[in-house]
């Protein structure tokens, strides 16, 4: 996303290789949609599929090695069975921390064809992705008393703040809001806030303010239009990004990206496994398709990205989304846009053919 970045390696013969991690639940079927669409649109990307089964460490290490090799990945969510002991860490988290994908970026924008309670939402959420509450450092000091450590470091806080402001400047955004709870966690979130302020001083063209996380959620459900760019530590990022995804229409619509210095991994923004709707052909492919467009932009294949993105958005508007994505739908907007997924797919292909013909 940052203009200064050099396109990643693994470009051979004009074709990129991207690691694909299907994951669990709805991951495999969503990624199949992506692969099919890429094949249909003749996108010069080849996928190296790496399956990660939750049981052993080897699989995730293979996936990490593959991503190091290719530089870019597209992934579904890997399920974490929390009945397993604490030594078995979340695979998704392991991937993010090992590859140092420190920035999770999510762009929540109200889509014209989707009817929601709030309109005109356009928020970019930048969430620190490696430390904070997700450090997975826990111990039982005395029987019945568990301590969980939340780590905030100056380096990572400065890094994420720098990323946020650079992105804001690049995208022409006016204001960055830091979300924190420094009135209670004075040292930890206090450090985060201080780092944000230091970085803000170097960007006088961008306004900076801070808001406490509980007030933030309250403002988001009453007046989400007031927010522009938001930057925050890991856990608050989890909460805020899910709230925002819900506000613009649900988990099936919003793509997310994880950026590190050397690698980038794209996925759906809210990282749901979606076990209850898996294999029923009702999962909404929009989020994953838009994530693949973000990936294509990252690979500097902008024409393909725009083509697919336009096709997705046109299809969504044309098939009268508003009637089906009502507020009373269950979590993943089932019955996709009053058509089932196969019909939606053919409509999408039609849109792409039309665009290709006009090129």
């Amino acid at each position: 996303i940052l203009a200064t970045r050099v396109p990643p390696p693994a470009k051979y013969g004009g074709r990129h290789t991207v690691t694909l991690i299907p994951g669990d639940g709805i991951g495999p079927e969503l990624l199949n949609h992506v692969r099919e669409l890429f094949r249909f649109s003749c996108v010069p990307v080849d996928f190296e599929v790496v399956n990660v089964c939750s049981a052993t460490e080897d699989d995730i290490n293979n996936a990490i090695t593959a991503i190091r090799r290719n530089g870019v990945a597209l992934k579904g969510n890997i399920e974490t069975l929390h009945t397993l002991p604490a030594s078995h860490k979340s695979r998704n988290n392991l991937l993010r921390t090992t590859l140092d994908l420190y920035a999770n970026v999510m762009h929540c924008k109200s889509l014209p064809g989707v009817q929601t309670r709030h309109n005109n939402i356009d928020i970019m959420i930048i969430r620190e992705n490696t430390e904070g509450e997700y450090s997975s450092l826990e111990h039982e000091s005395v029987s019945g008393v568990v301590e969980c450590l939340k780590i905030i470091t100056r380096t990572n806080s400065l890094r994420i703040a720098e990323y946020a402001f650079k992105l804001a400047r690049e995208k022409g955004r006016k204001r960055v809001t830091a979300v924190h709870k420094a009135n209670i966690m004075k040292l930890g979130d206090g450090l985060f806030l201080q780092c944000c302020r230091e970085v803000a001083a170097g960007y006088p063209d961008i306004a900076f303010d801070a808001m406490i996380v509980d007030n933030t959620t309250m403002q988001l459900v009453s007046k989400p239009q007031q927010f522009d760019v938001m930057v925050m530590p890991n856990l608050y990022g989890n909460v805020v990004s899910n709230v925002c995804a819900g506000l613009v229409g649900g988990p099936g619509l919003v793509p997310g990206a994880n950026y590190g210095r050397d690698y980038a991994v794209f996925e759906t923004a809210t990282r749901n496994t979606g076990k209850s709707i898996a294999d029923r052909n009702i999962a909404n492919p929009t989020a994953m398709l838009l994530a693949s467009c973000m990936m294509l932009d990252h690979l500097k294949l902008h024409d393909y990205a725009t083509m697919i993105r336009n096709a997705v958005l046109t299809t969504m508007n044309e098939t009268q989304v508003s009637q089906v994505l009502s507020p009373h739908c269950t979590i993943h907007s089932p019955g996709v846009y009053s058509l089932r997924t196969p019909e939606w797919r053919s409509s999408l292909r039609h849109c792409i053919s039309v665009q290709e013909a006009s090129l």
Binding site: H82, E133, G144, V146, I151, L191, V213, D214, T217, P327
Partner: protein, 350 residues
């Protein structure tokens, strides 16, 4: 709402005493409003006003004034307005002191959509029960080396069991159908895992109440899309803080949300959770709804359901009618006018 272990207080003829802490800013005016309305409804309650400015006891430890503590220990019921936390006053926040002194372990916030005060969300009817003593707010932080800070989140078996038991009892006593535990055990395996295990154990003793578990992010996602699917939510401190404010936002904000804190020894303090609003203090512009609804919660806790229902109905009718509303509700009336209107309705109901 009944506290653990017994039925509500029963009093038909005698006067019950309640400790009233008016608080700062708009606190005194809204307390006066509530007292007026209670008088109009002829509620058999007498108020004992106390102040909670922190004082330094022997040994330099900050504590609440002894007369306040004595009053609360005797009456066991308190109604509190907003307190200001002065920065750099040297003492911790008053709310924190109160919480520690009376071991207020459960924060209960029922969020019900108010007919007449329109928000994008209708039909909200849920209760958030938040563990209020430990978790991420333990206040234990260290600087490991320069530039690296560690905050400790503490989860204990006892506190988790206690809050789970309270949540299920609340559900049973208030005819709620399900309790959902909110957690992030996929990431914080041991700490939230412990919390979850205790909830599961307690659920075994309450087979009549449905028990579900949901990740915090899933709850947030679903809450803003369809809040009607939630009933009672129980969770550790930080998630509770965020979620209870999220739910307050759904129904219209802190100006209309009641809240109650339950303590270990039968103490219960009901409070308004909004700020002190120093900019409108003393101008007769404040909205007493939050404190009033908390007082109604208090009446229900004490077993005085009829009085509670009467006052609540009068309040909701006034808001639904839209003729006499304070500034924050979209009207132009004064606090005293709003109060008088509710008093009038209460009197008319007799």
């Amino acid at each position: 709402m009944f506290h653990k272990g017994g039925k509500g207080f029963v009093f038909s003829l005698q006067l019950q005493t309640v400790t009233l802490i008016p608080g700062d800013g708009i606190g005194p005016e809204i307390s006066v409003a509530v007292m007026k309305i209670f008088e109009a409804a002829k509620v058999p309650i007498q108020w004992e006003e106390r102040n909670v400015t922190a004082i330094q006891g022997p040994g330099g430890r900050w504590m609440i004034p002894p007369d306040c503590k004595e009053s609360m220990d005797r009456t066991l019921i308190g109604l509190k307005g907003p307190l200001k936390t002065p920065i750099a006053a040297g003492h911790p926040s008053m709310n924190l002191l109160l919480r520690k002194t009376f071991d207020l372990y459960a924060n209960v916030r029922p969020c019900v959509s108010i007919e007449g005060y329109k928000t994008p969300y209708t039909d909200v009817d849920l209760v958030t029960i938040r563990e209020n003593t430990e978790g991420e707010y333990s206040g234990i932080e260290h600087i490991i080396v320069d530039g690296v800070v560690q905050s400790i989140k503490l989860i204990t078996e006892d506190a988790s069991r206690r809050i789970a038991e309270y949540a299920f009892e609340y559900a049973r006593n208030n005819q709620r159908n399900s309790v959902t535990a909110v957690h992030k055990a996929n990431i914080m395996r041991m700490s939230d895992g412990l919390f979850l295990r205790k909830c599961r154990e307690v659920a075994e003793n309450f087979k009549d109440i449905k028990f579900t578990e949901m990740y915090l992010d899933t709850v947030c996602l679903n809450m803003v899309q369809d809040p009607t699917q939630f009933d009672v939510l129980v969770m550790p401190n930080l998630y509770g803080d965020i979620l209870s404010d999220l739910c307050a936002g759904l129904i219209g904000g802190l100006g209309v949300t009641p809240s109650g804190n339950i303590g270990a020894n039968g103490v219960a303090i009901f409070e308004s959770v909004h700020g002190t609003a120093p900019d409108i203090a003393g101008l007769d512009m404040a909205n007493p709804t939050a404190l009033l609804l908390s007082a109604v919660m208090m009446l229900r806790h004490m077993g005085m359901h009829d009085y509670g229902k009467k006052i609540e109905t009068a309040c909701f009718d006034t808001i639904r009618d839209k003729k006499v509303l304070t500034g924050d509700l979209g009207g132009k009336s004064k606090c005293s006018e709003f109060t008088e209107e509710i008093c009038r309705r209460v009197r008319d109901m007799d």
